[in-house]
Protein backbone atom coordinates (compact mmCIF):
# COMPACT_ATOMS: atom_id res chain seq x y z
CA UNK A 1 0.00 0.00 0.00
CA UNK A 2 1.18 3.49 -0.71
CA UNK A 3 2.31 5.92 1.90
CA UNK A 4 -0.90 7.40 3.23
CA UNK A 5 0.52 8.78 6.43
CA UNK A 6 0.04 12.31 7.60
CA UNK A 7 1.41 14.81 5.15
CA UNK A 8 3.16 17.16 7.57
CA UNK A 9 6.71 17.59 6.41
CA UNK A 10 5.96 15.92 3.09
CA UNK A 11 6.21 17.84 -0.10
CA UNK A 12 3.28 19.93 -1.14
CA UNK A 13 3.04 17.88 -4.28
CA UNK A 14 2.39 14.64 -2.40
CA UNK A 15 -0.18 16.37 -0.27
CA UNK A 16 -1.94 17.74 -3.33
CA UNK A 17 -1.86 14.33 -4.98
CA UNK A 18 -3.51 12.70 -1.96
CA UNK A 19 -6.12 15.41 -1.79
CA UNK A 20 -6.96 14.99 -5.47
CA UNK A 21 -7.12 11.21 -5.06
CA UNK A 22 -9.51 11.64 -2.12
CA UNK A 23 -11.78 13.90 -4.16
CA UNK A 24 -11.67 11.53 -7.11
CA UNK A 25 -12.70 8.59 -4.92
CA UNK A 26 -15.37 10.64 -3.17
CA UNK A 27 -16.74 11.50 -6.61
CA UNK A 28 -16.75 7.87 -7.71
CA UNK A 29 -18.50 6.70 -4.55
CA UNK A 30 -21.09 9.40 -4.72
CA UNK A 31 -21.68 9.23 -8.46
CA UNK A 32 -24.50 6.62 -8.48
CA UNK A 33 -26.42 8.68 -5.94
CA UNK A 34 -25.78 11.89 -7.83
CA UNK A 35 -26.96 10.21 -11.01
CA UNK A 36 -30.08 8.86 -9.32
CA UNK A 37 -30.81 12.32 -7.96
CA UNK A 38 -30.50 14.22 -11.24
CA UNK A 39 -32.25 11.53 -13.28
CA UNK A 40 -35.35 12.02 -11.17
CA UNK A 41 -35.70 15.46 -12.73
CA UNK A 42 -35.34 14.25 -16.30
CA UNK A 43 -38.02 13.37 -18.76
CA UNK A 44 -38.13 9.66 -19.59
CA UNK A 45 -36.75 10.52 -23.01
CA UNK A 46 -33.67 12.20 -21.51
CA UNK A 47 -33.17 9.49 -18.89
CA UNK A 48 -33.25 6.61 -21.34
CA UNK A 49 -30.94 7.96 -24.00
CA UNK A 50 -27.20 8.48 -23.84
CA UNK A 51 -26.22 9.76 -20.38
CA UNK A 52 -26.86 13.48 -20.13
CA UNK A 53 -25.65 15.97 -17.57
CA UNK A 54 -27.60 18.92 -18.94
CA UNK A 55 -31.30 18.71 -19.62
CA UNK A 56 -34.51 20.55 -19.05
CA UNK A 57 -35.53 19.68 -15.45
CA UNK A 58 -39.08 18.62 -14.73
CA UNK A 59 -41.02 17.59 -11.65
CA UNK A 60 -43.25 15.39 -13.76
CA UNK A 61 -41.76 12.11 -12.47
CA UNK A 62 -42.25 13.13 -8.85
CA UNK A 63 -45.86 13.95 -9.62
CA UNK A 64 -46.38 10.55 -11.25
CA UNK A 65 -44.78 8.43 -8.52
CA UNK A 66 -46.52 10.20 -5.65
CA UNK A 67 -49.92 9.85 -7.29
CA UNK A 68 -51.62 6.74 -6.02
CA UNK A 69 -53.27 4.53 -8.59
CA UNK A 70 -56.46 3.04 -7.09
CA UNK A 71 -55.86 -0.10 -5.07
CA UNK A 72 -52.10 0.34 -4.91
CA UNK A 73 -49.71 1.32 -2.18
CA UNK A 74 -49.23 5.07 -2.27
CA UNK A 75 -46.15 7.06 -1.32
CA UNK A 76 -47.73 8.92 1.57
CA UNK A 77 -49.26 5.79 3.03
CA UNK A 78 -45.94 3.94 2.85
CA UNK A 79 -44.08 6.90 4.33
CA UNK A 80 -46.52 7.22 7.21
CA UNK A 81 -46.26 3.50 7.90
CA UNK A 82 -42.47 3.59 7.74
CA UNK A 83 -42.13 6.56 10.07
CA UNK A 84 -44.50 5.08 12.64
CA UNK A 85 -42.94 1.62 12.52
CA UNK A 86 -39.36 2.85 12.57
CA UNK A 87 -39.81 5.47 15.27
CA UNK A 88 -41.87 3.29 17.59
CA UNK A 89 -39.56 0.30 17.22
CA UNK A 90 -36.47 2.45 17.77
CA UNK A 91 -38.01 4.01 20.89
CA UNK A 92 -38.79 0.59 22.32
CA UNK A 93 -35.28 -0.59 21.49
CA UNK A 94 -33.78 2.32 23.36
CA UNK A 95 -36.09 1.85 26.32
CA UNK A 96 -35.03 -1.78 26.61
CA UNK A 97 -31.37 -1.31 25.73
CA UNK A 98 -30.58 1.47 28.20
CA UNK A 99 -31.38 -0.57 31.34
CA UNK A 100 -29.71 -3.58 29.77
CA UNK A 101 -26.52 -1.64 29.10
CA UNK A 102 -26.69 -0.39 32.68
CA UNK A 103 -26.92 -3.96 33.97
CA UNK A 104 -23.97 -4.98 31.83
CA UNK A 105 -21.66 -2.20 32.92
CA UNK A 106 -22.38 0.04 35.86
CA UNK A 107 -23.82 -2.53 38.23
CA UNK A 108 -22.97 -5.62 36.20
CA UNK A 109 -24.80 -8.89 36.58
CA UNK A 110 -22.71 -11.98 37.23
CA UNK A 111 -21.52 -13.48 33.94
CA UNK A 112 -22.26 -10.27 32.07
CA UNK A 113 -20.12 -11.36 29.17
CA UNK A 114 -22.29 -14.41 28.58
CA UNK A 115 -25.39 -12.26 28.48
CA UNK A 116 -23.72 -9.95 26.00
CA UNK A 117 -22.64 -12.88 23.84
CA UNK A 118 -26.13 -14.27 23.90
CA UNK A 119 -27.53 -10.99 22.62
CA UNK A 120 -24.95 -10.71 19.86
CA UNK A 121 -25.23 -14.37 18.87
CA UNK A 122 -28.90 -13.90 18.00
CA UNK A 123 -27.75 -11.58 15.20
CA UNK A 124 -26.17 -14.61 13.57
CA UNK A 125 -29.52 -16.36 13.23
CA UNK A 126 -30.41 -15.71 9.60
CA UNK A 127 -33.81 -14.05 9.45
CA UNK A 128 -34.73 -16.16 6.45
CA UNK A 129 -34.41 -19.25 8.64
CA UNK A 130 -37.23 -18.15 10.88
CA UNK A 131 -39.53 -16.44 8.41
CA UNK A 132 -41.91 -19.39 8.23
CA UNK A 133 -42.45 -19.77 11.99
CA UNK A 134 -42.73 -16.00 12.26
CA UNK A 135 -45.43 -16.01 9.61
CA UNK A 136 -47.33 -18.81 11.35
CA UNK A 137 -47.07 -17.13 14.73
CA UNK A 138 -48.06 -13.76 13.33
CA UNK A 139 -51.10 -15.29 11.70
CA UNK A 140 -51.99 -17.06 14.92
CA UNK A 141 -51.80 -13.87 16.95
CA UNK A 142 -53.59 -11.90 14.24
CA UNK A 143 -50.71 -9.50 13.62
CA UNK A 144 -50.62 -9.67 9.84
CA UNK A 145 -53.00 -6.82 9.27
CA UNK A 146 -51.30 -4.08 11.24
CA UNK A 147 -48.08 -2.19 11.77
CA UNK A 148 -47.49 -4.00 15.05
CA UNK A 149 -45.78 -7.01 13.51
CA UNK A 150 -42.96 -5.03 11.88
CA UNK A 151 -42.58 -2.93 15.01
CA UNK A 152 -41.99 -6.11 17.02
CA UNK A 153 -39.66 -7.64 14.45
CA UNK A 154 -37.57 -4.52 13.90
CA UNK A 155 -37.29 -4.15 17.63
CA UNK A 156 -35.88 -7.65 17.99
CA UNK A 157 -33.65 -7.10 14.94
CA UNK A 158 -32.04 -3.95 16.35
CA UNK A 159 -32.04 -4.70 20.06
CA UNK A 160 -28.79 -6.73 20.15
CA UNK A 161 -26.91 -4.10 18.15
CA UNK A 162 -28.23 -1.33 20.38
CA UNK A 163 -27.24 -3.20 23.55
CA UNK A 164 -23.79 -3.82 22.16
CA UNK A 165 -23.24 -0.18 21.26
CA UNK A 166 -24.78 1.28 24.40
CA UNK A 167 -22.78 -1.03 26.63
CA UNK A 168 -19.60 0.56 25.35
CA UNK A 169 -20.89 4.07 25.94
CA UNK A 170 -21.96 3.21 29.46
CA UNK A 171 -18.44 1.99 30.09
CA UNK A 172 -17.15 5.48 29.46
CA UNK A 173 -19.01 6.78 32.51
CA UNK A 174 -16.32 7.30 35.14
CA UNK A 175 -16.81 5.13 38.21
CA UNK A 176 -15.91 8.00 40.52
CA UNK A 177 -18.86 10.05 39.32
CA UNK A 178 -21.30 7.27 40.10
CA UNK A 179 -19.75 6.61 43.45
CA UNK A 180 -19.88 10.30 44.28
CA UNK A 181 -23.54 10.39 43.36
CA UNK A 182 -24.16 7.36 45.55
CA UNK A 183 -22.45 8.98 48.49
CA UNK A 184 -24.61 12.05 47.96
CA UNK A 185 -27.54 9.74 48.39
CA UNK A 186 -28.78 10.11 44.82
CA UNK A 187 -31.26 7.40 43.98
CA UNK A 188 -31.08 5.41 40.79
CA UNK A 189 -33.31 7.79 38.90
CA UNK A 190 -31.39 10.93 39.68
CA UNK A 191 -28.13 9.03 39.12
CA UNK A 192 -29.41 8.15 35.66
CA UNK A 193 -30.69 11.60 34.83
CA UNK A 194 -27.93 13.76 36.28
CA UNK A 195 -24.81 11.62 35.89
CA UNK A 196 -25.15 8.84 33.35
CA UNK A 197 -27.44 10.15 30.65
CA UNK A 198 -25.55 13.40 29.97
CA UNK A 199 -22.39 11.38 29.37
CA UNK A 200 -23.94 8.74 27.16
CA UNK A 201 -26.26 11.12 25.25
CA UNK A 202 -24.16 11.26 22.04
CA UNK A 203 -23.96 7.50 22.14
CA UNK A 204 -27.71 7.21 22.51
CA UNK A 205 -28.13 9.41 19.47
CA UNK A 206 -25.71 7.40 17.36
CA UNK A 207 -27.31 4.13 18.40
CA UNK A 208 -30.82 5.33 17.72
CA UNK A 209 -29.74 6.59 14.32
CA UNK A 210 -28.25 3.25 13.35
CA UNK A 211 -31.44 1.46 14.45
CA UNK A 212 -33.40 3.99 12.41
CA UNK A 213 -31.29 3.33 9.30
CA UNK A 214 -31.53 -0.46 9.52
CA UNK A 215 -35.26 -0.41 10.22
CA UNK A 216 -36.06 2.15 7.53
CA UNK A 217 -34.13 0.18 4.92
CA UNK A 218 -35.39 -3.30 5.88
CA UNK A 219 -37.06 -5.06 2.99
CA UNK A 220 -37.13 -8.83 3.40
CA UNK A 221 -39.46 -9.09 6.39
CA UNK A 222 -41.59 -6.26 5.12
CA UNK A 223 -42.17 -7.80 1.72
CA UNK A 224 -42.48 -11.44 2.76
CA UNK A 225 -44.90 -10.91 5.60
CA UNK A 226 -46.75 -8.48 3.38
CA UNK A 227 -48.77 -6.97 6.15
CA UNK A 228 -51.83 -5.18 4.88
CA UNK A 229 -51.96 -1.75 6.44
CA UNK A 230 -48.27 -1.86 7.32
CA UNK A 231 -46.44 -1.65 3.99
CA UNK A 232 -43.25 0.35 4.26
CA UNK A 233 -41.24 2.55 1.93
CA UNK A 234 -38.89 -0.19 0.60
CA UNK A 235 -41.95 -2.09 -0.64
CA UNK A 236 -43.22 1.06 -2.29
CA UNK A 237 -39.81 1.80 -3.84
CA UNK A 238 -39.49 -1.68 -5.31
CA UNK A 239 -43.02 -1.87 -6.67
CA UNK A 240 -44.05 1.65 -7.68
CA UNK A 241 -42.22 1.59 -10.98
CA UNK A 242 -43.22 -0.86 -13.64
CA UNK A 243 -39.96 -2.14 -15.14
CA UNK A 244 -41.34 -2.18 -18.64
CA UNK A 245 -41.14 0.54 -21.20
CA UNK A 246 -39.28 3.66 -20.15
CA UNK A 247 -39.00 3.88 -16.41
CA UNK A 248 -35.55 5.17 -15.42
CA UNK A 249 -36.62 8.72 -14.57
CA UNK A 250 -39.59 7.54 -12.54
CA UNK A 251 -37.40 4.99 -10.79
CA UNK A 252 -34.90 7.71 -9.92
CA UNK A 253 -37.57 9.99 -8.51
CA UNK A 254 -39.02 7.18 -6.40
CA UNK A 255 -35.54 6.11 -5.22
CA UNK A 256 -34.68 9.64 -4.21
CA UNK A 257 -37.88 9.98 -2.19
CA UNK A 258 -37.34 6.61 -0.51
CA UNK A 259 -33.75 7.25 0.54
CA UNK A 260 -33.95 10.93 1.44
CA UNK A 261 -34.93 10.69 5.15
CA UNK A 262 -32.09 8.35 6.02
CA UNK A 263 -29.52 10.20 3.92
CA UNK A 264 -30.37 13.51 5.54
CA UNK A 265 -30.33 11.98 9.04
CA UNK A 266 -27.01 10.31 8.31
CA UNK A 267 -25.43 13.50 7.02
CA UNK A 268 -26.53 15.45 10.06
CA UNK A 269 -25.31 12.84 12.52
CA UNK A 270 -22.20 11.50 10.79
CA UNK A 271 -19.69 12.79 13.33
CA UNK A 272 -21.58 11.24 16.19
CA UNK A 273 -21.87 8.03 14.24
CA UNK A 274 -18.13 7.88 13.79
CA UNK A 275 -17.70 8.23 17.53
CA UNK A 276 -20.57 5.92 18.25
CA UNK A 277 -19.70 3.12 15.90
CA UNK A 278 -16.27 2.34 17.07
CA UNK A 279 -14.76 4.56 19.70
CA UNK A 280 -17.40 3.51 22.12
CA UNK A 281 -17.48 -0.04 20.88
CA UNK A 282 -13.85 -0.67 21.58
CA UNK A 283 -13.04 1.44 24.57
Amino acid sequence: MADFAKPKGKGRFTSLAFTSLTWLLAGIFFFPIFWMFISGFKSELDANGAPKLFFEPTLEQYRIVTETPPGQLGFWEATTNSFIIVIVSTLIVMMLAVPTAYALTIRPVGKWMEYLFFFISTKFLPIVASILPIYILAKHFDLLSSRRLLIILYMSMNLPLAIWMLRSFFQEVPRELIEAAEIDGANLRSQMVSVILPIVAPGLAATALLCFIFAWNEYFLAVQLNTTGGETVPIWASSVVDERGQFLAKLSAASTLATLPVIVAGWVAQKRMIRGLAMGAIK
Binding site: A5, I127, L159, F220, P234, S255
Partner: protein, 315 residues
Protein backbone atom coordinates in the same frame (compact mmCIF):
# COMPACT_ATOMS: atom_id res chain seq x y z
CA UNK B 1 -27.77 -3.22 52.17
CA UNK B 2 -24.22 -4.04 53.17
CA UNK B 3 -24.86 -7.68 54.06
CA UNK B 4 -26.26 -8.26 50.60
CA UNK B 5 -22.71 -8.31 49.27
CA UNK B 6 -22.16 -11.82 50.55
CA UNK B 7 -24.66 -13.21 48.10
CA UNK B 8 -22.33 -12.33 45.26
CA UNK B 9 -19.90 -15.30 45.53
CA UNK B 10 -22.82 -17.73 45.79
CA UNK B 11 -24.19 -16.39 42.53
CA UNK B 12 -20.97 -17.04 40.67
CA UNK B 13 -21.26 -20.70 41.51
CA UNK B 14 -24.76 -21.29 40.21
CA UNK B 15 -25.58 -20.98 36.56
CA UNK B 16 -28.05 -18.14 36.93
CA UNK B 17 -31.46 -19.73 37.02
CA UNK B 18 -30.67 -22.80 39.12
CA UNK B 19 -30.40 -22.95 42.87
CA UNK B 20 -33.09 -22.37 45.42
CA UNK B 21 -33.21 -18.62 45.70
CA UNK B 22 -35.66 -18.17 48.54
CA UNK B 23 -34.15 -14.93 49.65
CA UNK B 24 -36.69 -12.52 48.26
CA UNK B 25 -38.92 -12.51 51.30
CA UNK B 26 -38.63 -8.79 51.95
CA UNK B 27 -36.90 -7.62 48.78
CA UNK B 28 -35.04 -9.06 45.85
CA UNK B 29 -31.58 -10.46 46.37
CA UNK B 30 -28.66 -8.39 45.13
CA UNK B 31 -28.08 -10.70 42.18
CA UNK B 32 -31.68 -10.37 41.03
CA UNK B 33 -31.64 -6.64 41.57
CA UNK B 34 -28.71 -6.46 39.22
CA UNK B 35 -30.41 -8.75 36.77
CA UNK B 36 -33.75 -6.97 36.80
CA UNK B 37 -32.85 -4.15 34.37
CA UNK B 38 -31.79 -6.56 31.65
CA UNK B 39 -34.56 -9.09 32.11
CA UNK B 40 -37.11 -7.41 29.82
CA UNK B 41 -34.68 -7.27 26.90
CA UNK B 42 -33.38 -10.75 27.66
CA UNK B 43 -36.80 -12.37 27.79
CA UNK B 44 -37.99 -10.58 24.67
CA UNK B 45 -34.94 -11.65 22.70
CA UNK B 46 -35.27 -15.23 23.95
CA UNK B 47 -38.92 -15.45 22.96
CA UNK B 48 -38.58 -13.69 19.62
CA UNK B 49 -35.51 -15.58 18.43
CA UNK B 50 -35.59 -18.96 20.11
CA UNK B 51 -39.26 -19.85 19.68
CA UNK B 52 -39.22 -19.54 15.88
CA UNK B 53 -35.95 -21.41 15.84
CA UNK B 54 -37.37 -24.34 17.82
CA UNK B 55 -40.39 -24.39 15.52
CA UNK B 56 -38.03 -24.54 12.53
CA UNK B 57 -36.27 -27.53 14.04
CA UNK B 58 -39.59 -29.33 14.36
CA UNK B 59 -40.67 -28.43 10.80
CA UNK B 60 -37.34 -29.66 9.47
CA UNK B 61 -38.17 -33.15 10.68
CA UNK B 62 -41.44 -33.32 8.78
CA UNK B 63 -42.71 -33.66 5.24
CA UNK B 64 -44.62 -30.50 4.50
CA UNK B 65 -45.63 -28.95 1.19
CA UNK B 66 -47.68 -25.80 0.83
CA UNK B 67 -50.94 -27.60 0.16
CA UNK B 68 -51.54 -28.16 3.84
CA UNK B 69 -51.71 -25.69 6.66
CA UNK B 70 -49.64 -27.90 8.91
CA UNK B 71 -46.82 -30.43 8.56
CA UNK B 72 -48.02 -33.71 7.02
CA UNK B 73 -45.94 -36.39 8.67
CA UNK B 74 -42.93 -36.80 10.85
CA UNK B 75 -40.06 -38.18 8.77
CA UNK B 76 -37.05 -37.77 11.03
CA UNK B 77 -33.82 -36.68 9.41
CA UNK B 78 -34.77 -37.49 5.80
CA UNK B 79 -34.76 -33.83 4.81
CA UNK B 80 -31.20 -33.53 6.06
CA UNK B 81 -30.11 -36.63 4.16
CA UNK B 82 -31.58 -35.26 0.94
CA UNK B 83 -29.74 -32.04 1.49
CA UNK B 84 -26.31 -33.66 1.38
CA UNK B 85 -26.86 -34.73 -2.23
CA UNK B 86 -28.47 -31.47 -3.32
CA UNK B 87 -25.96 -29.73 -5.54
CA UNK B 88 -27.90 -26.45 -5.50
CA UNK B 89 -27.45 -26.34 -1.77
CA UNK B 90 -23.70 -26.72 -2.06
CA UNK B 91 -23.40 -24.10 -4.75
CA UNK B 92 -25.44 -21.73 -2.58
CA UNK B 93 -23.12 -22.46 0.32
CA UNK B 94 -20.12 -21.69 -1.86
CA UNK B 95 -21.76 -18.49 -3.14
CA UNK B 96 -22.44 -17.46 0.44
CA UNK B 97 -18.85 -17.91 1.51
CA UNK B 98 -17.47 -16.23 -1.60
CA UNK B 99 -19.84 -13.30 -1.38
CA UNK B 100 -19.26 -12.71 2.33
CA UNK B 101 -15.50 -13.13 2.35
CA UNK B 102 -14.81 -11.10 -0.78
CA UNK B 103 -17.14 -8.24 0.05
CA UNK B 104 -16.08 -7.97 3.69
CA UNK B 105 -12.42 -8.18 2.67
CA UNK B 106 -12.64 -5.57 -0.08
CA UNK B 107 -14.82 -3.24 2.01
CA UNK B 108 -12.27 -3.35 4.80
CA UNK B 109 -9.38 -2.76 2.41
CA UNK B 110 -11.01 0.17 0.60
CA UNK B 111 -12.50 1.46 3.83
CA UNK B 112 -9.06 1.59 5.44
CA UNK B 113 -7.60 3.35 2.41
CA UNK B 114 -10.36 5.95 2.39
CA UNK B 115 -10.14 6.46 6.14
CA UNK B 116 -6.40 7.13 5.86
CA UNK B 117 -7.03 9.62 3.07
CA UNK B 118 -9.80 11.34 5.00
CA UNK B 119 -7.80 11.51 8.22
CA UNK B 120 -5.55 14.15 6.63
CA UNK B 121 -6.34 17.82 6.87
CA UNK B 122 -7.39 19.27 3.54
CA UNK B 123 -9.83 21.69 2.04
CA UNK B 124 -13.38 20.35 2.11
CA UNK B 125 -12.51 17.34 4.27
CA UNK B 126 -15.95 17.18 5.88
CA UNK B 127 -17.72 17.44 2.55
CA UNK B 128 -15.63 14.65 1.00
CA UNK B 129 -16.41 12.45 3.99
CA UNK B 130 -20.09 13.23 3.65
CA UNK B 131 -20.05 12.15 0.00
CA UNK B 132 -18.26 8.92 0.83
CA UNK B 133 -20.52 7.78 3.68
CA UNK B 134 -23.68 8.27 1.65
CA UNK B 135 -23.76 4.84 -0.08
CA UNK B 136 -24.08 3.20 3.33
CA UNK B 137 -27.24 5.18 3.98
CA UNK B 138 -28.95 4.15 0.77
CA UNK B 139 -31.73 1.59 1.10
CA UNK B 140 -30.38 -1.75 -0.23
CA UNK B 141 -33.37 -2.23 -2.52
CA UNK B 142 -32.75 1.18 -4.07
CA UNK B 143 -29.01 0.54 -4.30
CA UNK B 144 -29.73 -2.66 -6.20
CA UNK B 145 -32.19 -0.99 -8.54
CA UNK B 146 -29.96 1.99 -9.26
CA UNK B 147 -26.90 -0.13 -9.99
CA UNK B 148 -28.80 -2.63 -12.05
CA UNK B 149 -30.72 -0.14 -14.17
CA UNK B 150 -28.66 3.01 -14.26
CA UNK B 151 -25.06 1.95 -13.83
CA UNK B 152 -24.68 -1.53 -15.24
CA UNK B 153 -27.57 -2.02 -17.64
CA UNK B 154 -26.35 -3.06 -21.08
CA UNK B 155 -28.47 -0.66 -23.09
CA UNK B 156 -28.69 2.51 -20.97
CA UNK B 157 -26.25 2.06 -18.10
CA UNK B 158 -23.65 4.76 -17.54
CA UNK B 159 -20.80 2.28 -17.20
CA UNK B 160 -21.66 0.59 -20.45
CA UNK B 161 -21.85 3.97 -22.09
CA UNK B 162 -18.20 4.44 -21.14
CA UNK B 163 -17.34 0.95 -22.31
CA UNK B 164 -18.95 1.64 -25.65
CA UNK B 165 -17.16 4.95 -25.75
CA UNK B 166 -13.92 2.99 -25.57
CA UNK B 167 -15.07 1.07 -28.62
CA UNK B 168 -15.95 -2.17 -26.84
CA UNK B 169 -19.10 -4.23 -26.78
CA UNK B 170 -21.48 -3.41 -23.90
CA UNK B 171 -21.57 -6.03 -21.17
CA UNK B 172 -24.78 -7.06 -19.47
CA UNK B 173 -23.12 -7.41 -16.09
CA UNK B 174 -26.04 -8.75 -14.07
CA UNK B 175 -26.57 -11.76 -16.31
CA UNK B 176 -22.96 -12.45 -17.24
CA UNK B 177 -21.36 -11.92 -13.83
CA UNK B 178 -24.31 -12.12 -11.43
CA UNK B 179 -22.32 -12.89 -8.30
CA UNK B 180 -19.67 -10.23 -8.91
CA UNK B 181 -22.26 -7.64 -9.78
CA UNK B 182 -23.77 -8.15 -6.36
CA UNK B 183 -20.35 -8.06 -4.73
CA UNK B 184 -19.67 -4.70 -6.40
CA UNK B 185 -22.86 -3.22 -4.97
CA UNK B 186 -22.17 -4.69 -1.53
CA UNK B 187 -18.64 -3.30 -1.50
CA UNK B 188 -19.97 0.07 -2.63
CA UNK B 189 -22.40 0.12 0.31
CA UNK B 190 -20.16 -1.34 3.01
CA UNK B 191 -16.86 0.40 2.27
CA UNK B 192 -18.25 3.62 3.80
CA UNK B 193 -19.31 1.71 6.91
CA UNK B 194 -15.83 0.24 7.34
CA UNK B 195 -14.37 3.68 6.61
CA UNK B 196 -16.40 5.11 9.52
CA UNK B 197 -15.10 2.50 11.94
CA UNK B 198 -11.46 2.83 10.83
CA UNK B 199 -11.72 6.61 10.87
CA UNK B 200 -12.86 6.44 14.47
CA UNK B 201 -9.82 4.26 15.15
CA UNK B 202 -7.46 6.72 13.49
CA UNK B 203 -8.93 9.64 15.37
CA UNK B 204 -8.46 7.75 18.62
CA UNK B 205 -4.76 7.38 17.93
CA UNK B 206 -2.62 9.36 20.31
CA UNK B 207 -0.80 12.14 18.50
CA UNK B 208 2.09 12.08 20.94
CA UNK B 209 3.05 8.58 19.82
CA UNK B 210 2.97 9.70 16.19
CA UNK B 211 5.05 12.77 17.01
CA UNK B 212 7.55 10.60 18.83
CA UNK B 213 7.82 8.32 15.82
CA UNK B 214 8.51 11.31 13.62
CA UNK B 215 11.16 12.64 15.99
CA UNK B 216 12.77 9.22 15.87
CA UNK B 217 12.93 9.64 12.12
CA UNK B 218 10.35 7.00 11.15
CA UNK B 219 8.94 7.61 7.70
CA UNK B 220 5.27 7.40 6.79
CA UNK B 221 5.33 3.78 5.66
CA UNK B 222 7.03 2.40 8.73
CA UNK B 223 4.87 4.53 11.03
CA UNK B 224 1.83 3.06 9.33
CA UNK B 225 2.91 -0.56 9.64
CA UNK B 226 4.47 -0.37 13.09
CA UNK B 227 2.17 1.98 14.95
CA UNK B 228 -1.06 2.70 13.09
CA UNK B 229 -1.89 -0.78 11.85
CA UNK B 230 -1.47 -2.53 15.24
CA UNK B 231 -3.56 0.24 16.79
CA UNK B 232 -6.25 -0.32 14.15
CA UNK B 233 -6.38 -4.05 14.68
CA UNK B 234 -9.33 -4.10 17.04
CA UNK B 235 -11.22 -1.69 14.79
CA UNK B 236 -10.58 -3.90 11.78
CA UNK B 237 -11.83 -6.88 13.76
CA UNK B 238 -14.97 -5.03 14.79
CA UNK B 239 -15.59 -4.06 11.17
CA UNK B 240 -15.05 -7.64 10.02
CA UNK B 241 -17.41 -8.98 12.66
CA UNK B 242 -20.26 -6.59 11.83
CA UNK B 243 -19.60 -7.04 8.12
CA UNK B 244 -19.86 -10.82 8.37
CA UNK B 245 -23.07 -10.59 10.40
CA UNK B 246 -24.80 -8.39 7.86
CA UNK B 247 -23.24 -9.53 4.60
CA UNK B 248 -23.71 -13.25 5.15
CA UNK B 249 -27.45 -12.56 5.25
CA UNK B 250 -27.80 -10.44 2.16
CA UNK B 251 -31.17 -10.83 0.50
CA UNK B 252 -32.39 -7.50 -0.89
CA UNK B 253 -29.60 -6.95 -3.42
CA UNK B 254 -29.95 -10.46 -4.80
CA UNK B 255 -33.67 -10.07 -5.00
CA UNK B 256 -33.64 -6.94 -7.12
CA UNK B 257 -30.51 -7.51 -9.20
CA UNK B 258 -30.55 -11.17 -10.23
CA UNK B 259 -33.46 -12.85 -8.46
CA UNK B 260 -30.98 -15.50 -7.45
CA UNK B 261 -29.79 -16.60 -10.89
CA UNK B 262 -26.18 -17.65 -10.51
CA UNK B 263 -25.85 -15.75 -7.28
CA UNK B 264 -28.15 -17.30 -4.68
CA UNK B 265 -26.52 -17.39 -1.26
CA UNK B 266 -27.82 -19.67 1.48
CA UNK B 267 -30.51 -17.33 2.78
CA UNK B 268 -31.75 -16.76 -0.76
CA UNK B 269 -31.69 -20.48 -1.45
CA UNK B 270 -33.81 -21.16 1.62
CA UNK B 271 -36.15 -18.44 0.45
CA UNK B 272 -36.43 -19.98 -3.04
CA UNK B 273 -37.17 -23.40 -1.59
CA UNK B 274 -39.90 -22.18 0.72
CA UNK B 275 -41.92 -19.01 0.35
CA UNK B 276 -40.07 -17.97 -2.82
CA UNK B 277 -41.78 -20.57 -4.97
CA UNK B 278 -40.55 -23.97 -3.80
CA UNK B 279 -43.14 -24.32 -1.06
CA UNK B 280 -41.23 -27.24 0.44
CA UNK B 281 -41.54 -26.06 3.98
CA UNK B 282 -40.17 -29.18 5.63
CA UNK B 283 -37.10 -29.38 3.42
CA UNK B 284 -36.56 -25.63 3.50
CA UNK B 285 -36.62 -25.70 7.29
CA UNK B 286 -33.90 -28.33 7.21
CA UNK B 287 -31.83 -26.08 4.94
CA UNK B 288 -32.37 -23.18 7.25
CA UNK B 289 -31.24 -25.19 10.26
CA UNK B 290 -28.06 -26.04 8.38
CA UNK B 291 -27.65 -22.35 7.57
CA UNK B 292 -27.97 -21.61 11.26
CA UNK B 293 -25.30 -24.19 12.05
CA UNK B 294 -23.05 -22.63 9.40
CA UNK B 295 -23.72 -19.24 10.90
CA UNK B 296 -22.88 -20.46 14.34
CA UNK B 297 -19.53 -21.72 13.17
CA UNK B 298 -18.87 -18.22 11.85
CA UNK B 299 -20.40 -16.74 15.00
CA UNK B 300 -18.16 -18.82 17.17
CA UNK B 301 -15.17 -17.44 15.35
CA UNK B 302 -16.65 -13.96 15.52
CA UNK B 303 -17.38 -14.15 19.21
CA UNK B 304 -13.85 -15.27 19.88
CA UNK B 305 -12.67 -12.14 18.14
CA UNK B 306 -15.16 -10.21 20.22
CA UNK B 307 -14.00 -11.70 23.47
CA UNK B 308 -10.48 -10.74 22.45
CA UNK B 309 -11.73 -7.17 22.09
CA UNK B 310 -13.42 -7.32 25.46
CA UNK B 311 -10.43 -8.73 27.28
CA UNK B 312 -8.08 -6.21 25.70
CA UNK B 313 -10.06 -3.41 27.21
CA UNK B 314 -9.56 -4.85 30.68
CA UNK B 315 -5.80 -4.53 30.27
Amino acid sequence: MVEQQRIEPADNGTSGKGGGRARKSSFLSEAWKRRLPLLPAFLIVVVLTQVPFLMSIYFSLTRWRANTAEPREFIGVDNYIDLVSNSFFWSAAWNSILMTVVSVGLSLLFGTGLALLLDRKFFGQGFARTLIITPFLVMPVVAGLVWKNQMLNSSFGVINWFIEGLGMEPISFASRYPLWTIVVVLVWQWTPFMMLIILAGLQGQSSSVLEAAKVDGANGVSTFFQITLPHLRSYLELGALLGVIYLSQVYDHIRVITRGTGSANLPYFVYLRSIGGGWQFGAASAYSIVVVIFSFIIANFGLRVLSGLLTDEGA
